[in-house]
């Protein structure tokens, strides 16, 4: 028992902490996923069948918060924890105790967040975007606990980012210059800087919300000289770069997987680095594209339209470079590669709908419709989530020394990729046809596609149970994996045994 507590609750080891993050993320995948299935069940038919409308709104809110803060971010940080020291030849993260704190704040934050569902007045019901005054004047009392949960989440991310930046800047093995770092390390360096900028912004936002709710301030109330749009500006200054925080580590994972299964180096490494850095800078300059219909002046709309469209350029460079890496490569399509290729195709598709949304006159039509919902779910599910899962299939044999079942992995992939398109492709069309988002009941003309979407959702949701089975079965009963694991894999992590020793690189390796 004492050994269990020491290893899993008092850990200062980046591998164990990475595992904690990943397990935590997986549990939340099913929490947030169940909420999604409840939402889709209600939307299966027009009319109100299963859920009280306010509770529906609460589920929509918590689904978003849990998936973003409880699934994607922890999984990405878990991968960062496992991989960054291995990839740069470091013994561990720069600040191992702080690392543990960053993890342990998350279960506490999630308990606080989910507990709001059970409080008098119900849970937060204003969407994950928390617009004032819906989230200030008209919100249930549990909102204050949600705000505190967000404080804890932000603290975790800030400290994690400081740790990651310090590790990458100070702990690289001698000879590993910045331009020799693996792309996954680059994307996390840039992501960590973005987090350092945006998390204090979120903290400020929710603290102003808390004050408006409890201390009689009027930040977002025009009666006192404040402005509801102040909330939107500050929230989206956090919120837009946040989605780049979600996608950049995924880009890094894809940049690791594709070269391995193409048996070719990543095409255009230098430009991949420049692209990631420019995406991050641009991400900080586009926030008001979420506010095109909120009454901002025409000049502002134009600026944000142009800056948003600009981001497509470095992103496109990355997509072309992944394809160029595959071109004339010696390709095999094991499960990680399947997820990576699906990512490239489906993320690009999501990017196209993003460019559509950037066009102001068109966005007047798309805003707050299911077209937006379809866009961001395409980026997040066949985008980010596929990349994360691909990364887990790719590195799990290294972590636990056992190989997963390729047959089961293929089943997981194909069921997922087909069902994810069944869920979200129809949502584009109902959005274009006029169905608003965040509604539990809808007009009859949207019925058929909603029904299709729901069916796809249930298939997708239950398919992820297969993923859990695969992971657990691999760890317990997989066949032994070599140190190299994948014959095309290049990088410091593949020079260590599978699983790696407790203190990864106790002596820094020499980089050629």
């Amino acid at each position: 028992m004492k050994a269990f507590i020491t290893r899993w609750m008092r850990s200062t080891n980046h591998k164990d902490i990475g595992t904690l993050y990943l397990c935590f993320s997986l549990i939340n995948l099913f929490t947030g996923g169940s909420m999604a299935l409840a939402i889709r069940a209600e939307l299966f038919q027009p009319g109100l069948q299963i859920l009280d409308p306010n509770f529906f709104n609460t589920l929509v809110t918590l689904h978003g918060l849990i998936m973003v803060f409880g699934v994607v971010m922890p999984a990405a940080v878990g991968l960062a924890n496992w991989q960054i020291p291995l990839m740069i030849g470091a013994p561990d993260m720069a600040l191992p105790r702080l690392n543990n704190l960053s993890f342990w704040l998350l279960p506490f934050a999630t308990i606080l967040l989910v507990s709001t569902l059970f409080m008098a007045g119900g849970g937060p019901n204003f969407g994950w975007t928390m617009y004032a005054p819906l989230s200030t004047t008209y919100a249930p009392p549990s909102t204050d606990f949600m705000i505190f949960a967000i404080h804890l989440l932000g603290l975790s991310s800030i400290m994690g980012s400081i740790n990651i930046i310090t590790t990458i800047l100070d702990m690289r093995a001698p000879g590993m210059t910045m331009m020799k770092m693996p792309m996954f390390v680059w994307t996390w360096l840039v992501t960590a800087f973005l987090l350092l900028i945006i998390m204090p912004v979120l903290a400020g936002t929710v603290t102003m919300m808390l004050a408006d709710r409890n201390f009689g301030t009027s930040f977002f109330d025009a009666a006192g000289g404040g402005d509801p749009l102040l909330f939107q500006h500050i929230f989206w200054f956090f919120g837009h770069p946040e989605v780049y925080v979600l996608i950049l580590p995924a880009f890094g994972i894809i940049s690791q997987i594709i070269p391995t299964f193409s048996r070719k180096p990543l095409f255009g490494y230098r430009f991949m680095v420049y692209a990631v850095v420019s995406i991050a800078f641009l991400a900080l300059a586009v926030w008001a594209h979420h506010m095109f219909t909120s009454g901002i002046p025409l000049g502002a709309q134009q600026f944000f339209m142009y800056s948003t469209m600009l981001i497509a350029i470095p992103t496109g460079i990355k997509v072309f470079n992944w394809l160029a890496t595959m071109y004339r490569g010696s390709l095999t399509f094991e499960t990680p590669m399947l997820f990576a290729v699906a990512f490239v195709v489906l993320f690009t598709f999501a990017g196209f709908t993003g460019v559509m949304l950037a066009v102001v006159p068109a966005d007047i039509q798309y805003h707050d419709s299911y077209f937006v919902v379809a866009h961001f779910h395409y980026v997040l599910v066949p985008g980010v989530l596929f990349a994360l899962m691909g990364g887990i299939y790719y590195w799990l044999p290294k972590w636990c020394g056992k190989m997963y079942s390729e047959t089961l992995g293929q089943w997981h992939f194909w069921l997922s990729v087909i069902s994810v398109n069944i869920v979200f492709l129809p949502q584009h069309f109902i959005g274009l046809a006029g169905m608003p988002r965040r509604i539990p009941d809808y007009a009859l003309q949207f019925a058929n596609f909603n029904a299709v979407s729901t069916i796809g959702a249930f298939i997708f949701g239950f398919t992820q149970l297969l993923f859990v089975y695969i992971v657990i079965h691999t760890i317990r009963k997989g066949s032994p994996a070599s140190a190299q694991v994948w014959d095309g894999a290049v990088g410091l992590e593949w020079t260590l045994s599978s699983p790696p020793p407790h203190h990864s690189f106790a002596v820094p390796p020499k980089i050629g």
């Binding site: 191992p96 100070d170 204090p200 400020g204 025009a222």
Partner: protein, 291 residues
Amino acid sequence: MSQSENVKYYLPGASGWPLAFGAGLFTLLVGAGRWLHDLPDGPYIFFAAISVIAVVLSGWFGTVIRENLAGCYTPWVGRSFRTAMRWLIFSEVIFFSVFFSALFYTRLWSAPELGGAYYPLTNILLWPDFSFQWPLLDNPDNSQYLGANHISSPWSIPLVNTLLLLSSACTFVWAQWGLSRGSRWILKLGLVLTILLGLTFLLLQANEYYGDYTRDGLTLNAGIYGSLFFFLTGFHGLHVAAGVLMLSVILGRSLAGHFTPDNHFALEGVGWYWHFVDVVWLLLFVFVYWL
């Protein structure tokens, strides 16, 4: 630097401090929420959590200090600590810039807009009796948010506070210089003076707040001016208080004989933090009190 210093990076063993700190923070926020909702146990849970956090933090930092005194920390580790402190302060700069941004947005755009400066219909239809001025003493709806009746001059106490903090920066640098010269009495005296100047600043600010609330009607409820004023100066004050606390710890360690010219990260780190707090005050003085 020698080969062994290059390869040796101290990795702490297992520690319960992080989980305990997380539990303490969780309890603190539960207590805060319950207090805000007028539940009777709220304040007790809150203050109990504060004591837990205090114990945990002194335990955690105590462990780090002991590891340093035992010689665990090579220059490599010292570099990591410095990098981490720099980026922590960076995140704090961003935190303050949120409220400065809100101030500029309000003064330059949203409040004049309510007064009809950009799209006149907003003012004509919604708030016809409102005209914009800064400081904003007359809110669009004074029955909900009664504006302050008086704003003190920046050239009295705020100016004194500016001089106090600027002097405290000098006394701190003097203390650091003393350490580098091996003059420990300068180190200790400089720190004592820095702390005293910081404490005086806090007392004067508290006194100002008291006057604002009782005499001037300048409260958190006084509309956007009061909201922004107290958030900007209030968070600054909290950071000064945290800085004074850290300086006291550093003074205690100096008195205990810690810190050599080659090994004094905590002194440096707290110094950077103190200078950051000073710079924020200068910005506050210019953009909140003066202009």
